[in-house]
Amino acid sequence: MHICPRCESNRSEVVTRSPVKGAWEVLLCPVCLFTWRTSEPDSITDPAKYKSAFKVNPQDIPNAAHVPPIPERI
């Protein structure tokens, strides 16, 4: 189980592992869709050090503006 550095959900999944065994994994958060590699600097991988301006509150995600809006069916 991995904590997402951006939205701090604990549901992140491994989507790939390095072809050279043990170098890194890539993780994907299914809540905020953040992706990171475990070999990245801790300003990216550590929830405590992730820049506050880029943090995402999971409660805000359903309210994100639709770009473009979904049109009416005709």
């Binding site: 951006r6 989507v15 790939t16 390095s18 072809p19 050279v20 170098a23 890194w24 890539v26 994907l28 905020c32 869709l33 953040f34 992706t35 990171w36 590699r37 070999s39 990245e40 600097p41 300003s43 990216i44 820049k51 301006a53 880029f54 995402v56 995600i61 994100a64 503006a65 639709h66 770009v67 473009p68 979904i70 049109p71 009416e72 069916r73 005709i74």
Partner: protein, 472 residues
């Protein structure tokens, strides 16, 4: 002068001393982006970068900054690498007028070598990586995306080939940002109004000519493939996609085929953009990938984007300026001299024009605002006299400092459209726009003291030639 494929262009760059191979091991993050950012800081003649030793990968090969300088842009057009920018602009404009050049169709392409239709995992297939620290994930930002108009699928020009940022958000899922001013937004709307998915194909690692055409603000019904043919001076080669009636660039390294899922929106972003700001996070359409094919050991092309100037600015500089030039010439064929819309994709545009009568330059500025590209860009239009070279910023600043009277020559038009990525727009997508008339007033606009403009001493042209020879 057509390049056979992406590798052929890289080979040309290498031959011309415009490709730097980095064989030392680099980390995917932050090295790849950092090296590219550093390169962009080193001037406007930099080479492309080719990385072949990336930590954790066994055979990943990544090309970046492929079009990230004026020499590389000249080579894209088959011109000598030291061709001055203004000459590249007029040559591009000349070729633009050769449009359309019909495509050449092929049955097979090198990218058919390897095909994947089950258990697609883009994170395995492509050496993806983060560019800027606040990016929400890993992106495809130099891939072209092909889609068709659903109301009029038989009009060839309405097949769209465009460059859109795409976030890889799952093993076979991408997020796409369809800016309303761009053609893909029209196709997505058509499909969603029907409740249908929109078939798309994505090509990575293409010859620079199709990337250039795909990032040119052509009219909606103009074909990017037929423009690529005009720019390269011979028919552009295409091959059919397998899951849809879409044409693909023959020389691509990797093809992804899939569909935009009707009515789905999913959190996307932020992404460090060409405006020098992050885009923010919004809910955007999703593409599901159903089929991948690629060359053996494909080269992954990526583009660093961020605070200007980066590769983006070289890639979309001349080809943004030329359509504005042509469309303004359509309206004022005897007056328009040149257009420089190279600054932040044309958020600023500088137009050099003759003036027929007082107030004329302001009308030229107004027309720029209503061109298709101007609707989403051209927030500040500077109009200068015919003698001023719009690509020579010191000359433009001279015109602004001496010709412009703020009381008469600064025109603000309220409440116009702009691309939502403009961080100053409020609400996103809306802005006032400004025209600065830095031309010399002519009758009946009789203002200022302009009858004694400075001339040069006699014989300057001869001395220029003589001194140039002596300085060689």
């Amino acid at each position: 002068m057509a390049y056979k494929d992406f590798r052929d262009f890289l080979h040309t760059l290498e031959k011309e001393g415009q490709l730097l191979t980095i064989s030392d091991e680099v980390k995917p993050e932050p090295d790849l982006a950092a090296a590219n950012r550093a390169l962009n800081n080193l001037g406007d003649k930099t080479p492309a970068l080719f990385f072949n030793n990336i930590y954790g990968y066994t055979n990943a090969r990544i090309a970046m900054n492929v079009m990230g300088s004026w020499p590389n842009h000249a080579l894209m057009m088959g011109m000598p690498k030291n061709t001055p920018l203004k000459e590249q602009f007029f040559e591009f404009a000349r070729r633009y007028e050769q449009f359309p050049v019909p495509v050449k169709r092929e049955e097979t392409a090198p990218f058919h070598e390897v095909e994947i239709t089950e258990d697609i995992n883009l994170f395995d297939i492509l050496p993806l990586f983060r560019l800027n620290q606040g990016d929400g994930g890993f992106y495809l930002d130099k891939a072209i995306l092909v889609s068709r108009d659903l109301d009029d699928p038989d009009t060839y020009g309405k097949q769209n080939v465009g460059l859109y940022r795409m976030q890889v958000k799952g093993k076979n899922r991408l997020g796409i940002q369809p800016v309303p001013q761009h053609d893909i937004a029209i196709h997505i709307r058509q499909a969603e109004e029907r409740g249908e998915n929109l078939k798309v194909a994505i090509a990575l690692g293409c010859e620079p000519v199709i990337t250039t055409a795909a990032s040119t603000p052509l009219l909606y019904d103009q074909s990017e493939y037929e423009m690529a043919g005009a720019i390269q001076g011979e028919p552009y080669r295409v091959v059919k996609a397998k899951d849809a009636d879409l044409d693909l660039p023959w020389g691509a390294e990797v093809i992804l085929e899939g569909e935009v899922l009707a009515g789905e929106r999913e959190y996307e972003g932020p992404f460090g953009e060409f405006t020098g700001h992050y885009s923010g996070g919004r809910a955007m359409p999703v593409i599901q990938i159903n089929r991948v094919y690629h060359r053996k050991q494909p080269i992954f092309e990526h583009l660093y984007i961020g605070m200007p100037w980066t590769e983006t600015d070289y890639m979309i500089g001349v080809n943004t300026s030329v359509p504005l030039f042509q469309q303004l010439k359509d309206a004022f064929p005897n007056e328009i001299v040149a257009v420089n819309a190279m600054y932040t994709h044309g958020l600023v545009a500088i137009i050099s024009t003759k003036t027929r009568y007082g107030g004329f330059a302001k009308a030229v500025g107004m027309r720029a605002l209503t061109t298709p590209h101007g609707l989403g860009y051209c927030k500040l239009v500077i109009v200068v006299d015919e003698e001023v070279d719009p690509f020579n910023l010191p000359q433009v600043m001279w015109a602004l400092s001496t010709k412009l009277h703020p009381k008469h020559d600064a025109v603000i038009v309220p409440g116009l459209s702009i691309l939502p990525l403009d961080p100053g727009s409020d609400p996103a997508g809306m802005t006032h726009k400004m025209i600065l008339d830095a031309t010399t007033p002519v009758a009946p606009d009789i203002r200022g003291h302009y009858s004694q403009s400075l001339d040069s001493p006699l014989g300057v042209a001869e001395w220029e030639k003589k001194l140039s020879r002596m300085l060689r």
